[in-house]
Amino acid sequence: MSSSASTSKVPEETKKPEEQTKEENTQPHLGSLEEDDEFEEFATADWDDSQTDLVHLNGTAPGAAKSGGDKLWEDNWDDDDIEEEFSVQLRNELTKSSGGSGEAMQH
């Protein structure tokens, strides 16, 4: 009966193939994230920590980040390595606009 049908998709509106091509290119298909999908019934009612992502935590609170022991998230990604291109361009622009006085470098 219906348990299989309830995850079935509404048929896409029929479009001529040539109209479709551009759409498809600009809007990548998201598979299971299509709007019609639902949160699915679980196959089992209960399970223990070892079958969840809690095992990644080693006892820390869920949802911290790497620095807090949860390697699924990262909360520290600032670095001081600026791409050469950006810094060169920025310096050049500054030299141009401020007549080379290097105003920004004053302390």
Binding site: P28, L30, Q51, W73
Partner: protein
């Protein structure tokens, strides 16, 4: 071996005597093998004639429940989902009469018939819509399931271990699933209000994980749609971490909303996480890469590319807000290139924005700096007269994870 009606009734009676919930669930499932047998037995029989065979043959209301069962399976076989739904709704109503007189041992059967009710409502509405007819079976399903919810929650007689209260969160999950399907999200509030009015329920964490995760998912989604992002992030985080890792598409659903919320908080998903969810990797990685690089124009390209999908998922606004993280990146780079000076002219920020593909006037750049300071992305103040940004000498760009109000909208 074929099962005729009298054998079926005996099996029900046995399940009742032995209080075997899973078996009772099996007996009431339209897809079970005996369903076909009973269908054949009563192929062209009217409701009245089936009733004659059932009535009084087993304790009430099970005679009528058995009759409804035959009717439901017949309608399904005849591909009449609308009628099948109506008969199943009556089956549930009859079942609830028995349910409220007994302890929670019947919960497996309750869950099963409610699930079938919802599935039939889905089919009925789908079928009607396909034929251009109006159909509100899902709304009706929500009403029937809400009744069952009340009958679970208000159990005052069963011993705690066998209380019908243990069905509460599963049934709430089903009601919310109905409301989400027909986009009557606002009706969910009534259910949650009723739930909060019963503080005598066992704590959520003592329920089976499948109940906890489903409930928290919907609660997280409701909070998200009500723009209570802090609460949403909290519920979805717990849902994700308690979800069975084998339930991949459910984890993916949770992360679809959790990842943007965590990005706003300055927690970026690691490669390890993204590799497990290729669909989310494809969607979110361009945004994450742009944030890491402080590259607003790459970010805008991603926003444009995914616009329709993000709008469909109600995520566009969230990701549009997270663009600020790129701007912070540009400003931080400017500060690093300026050798972390505490005094940086606005023109310098203006210029770095232009290099990064953000073409705005100096006044707008000044405004953007002011905004970033106000929102806690950077510490300092603006001397408007001197067109100079004076920056704090310590903790100039606080870690994003440390911002006190990451979800405050401008």
């Amino acid at each position: 071996m074929t099962v005729d009606l009298s054998a079926y009734l005996v099996q029900i009676a046995e399940a009742l005597v032995s209080e075997n919930g899973p078996n009772l669930a099996y007996l009431l499932r339209p897809t079970s093998p005996h369903g076909k047998d009973l269908c054949k037995e009563f192929r062209n029989a009217s409701k009245e004639s089936i009733k004659v065979y059932c009535e009084g043959m087993i304790e009430s209301p099970w005679d009528l429940i058995a009759m409804q069962y035959v009717l439901v399976t017949s309608c399904i076989v005849k591909k009449r989902p609308g009628e099948a739904f109506k008969e199943q709704a009556q089956l549930v109503t009859l079942f609830l009469r028995y349910f409220t007189q007994n302890s929670g041992w019947t919960l497996p059967a309750l869950f099963s018939i409610l699930r079938d009710l919802r599935d039939l409502a889905f089919d009925a509405d789908f079928h009607a819509k396909y034929n251009g007819q109006k159909s509100e079976c899902m709304e009706e399903a929500a009403r029937v399931i809400s009744k069952a919810f009340g009958n679970c929650m208000t159990d005052r007689t069963s011993p705690p271990g066998e209380s019908r209260k243990w069905g509460t969160y599963y049934v709430v999950g089903l009601v919310l699933k109905c409301y989400f399907r027909v986009k009557l999200i606002s009706l969910s509030k009534n259910i949650l209000r009723a739930l909060n009015a019963h503080p005598d329920l066992p704590s959520l964490s003592s329920y089976p994980r499948s109940h906890q995760v489903t409930y928290r998912y919907y609660l997280g989604m409701l909070s998200f749609l009500n723009e209570d992002y802090a609460k949403s992030e909290q519920e979805l985080t717990v849902a994700f971490y308690h979800c069975h890792t084998g339930a991949h598409s459910n984890q993916e659903r949770i992360l679809t909303y959790l990842i943007p919320l965590r990005i706003l908080r300055g927690h970026l998903p690691s490669r390890e996480l993204m590799q497990r969810f290729p669909v989310l990797d494809e969607l979110f990685t361009p945004f994450i890469a742009a944030i890491r690089a402080g590259d607003p124009s790459a970010y805008d390209t991603a926003l444009e590319k995914w616009e329709r999908r993000l709008v469909d998922l109600n995520l566009w606004l969230t990701l549009d807000n997270a663009r600020e993280l790129c701007i912070r990146g540009v400003f931080r780079k400017t500060w690093v290139v300026s050798e972390k000076s505490t005094r940086i002219p606005i023109s310098m920020f203006h210029c770095s924005l232009r290099i990064s593909g953000v073409h705005i006037s100096q006044e707008e750049a000044e405004c953007l700096v002011a905004n970033m300071i106000y929102k806690g992305y950077m510490r300092g103040y603006i001397s408007h007269e001197k067109q100079m940004v004076v920056l704090a000498s310590t903790n100039t760009f606080p870690r994003l994870a440390d911002r006190p109000t990451p979800y405050a909208l401008s």
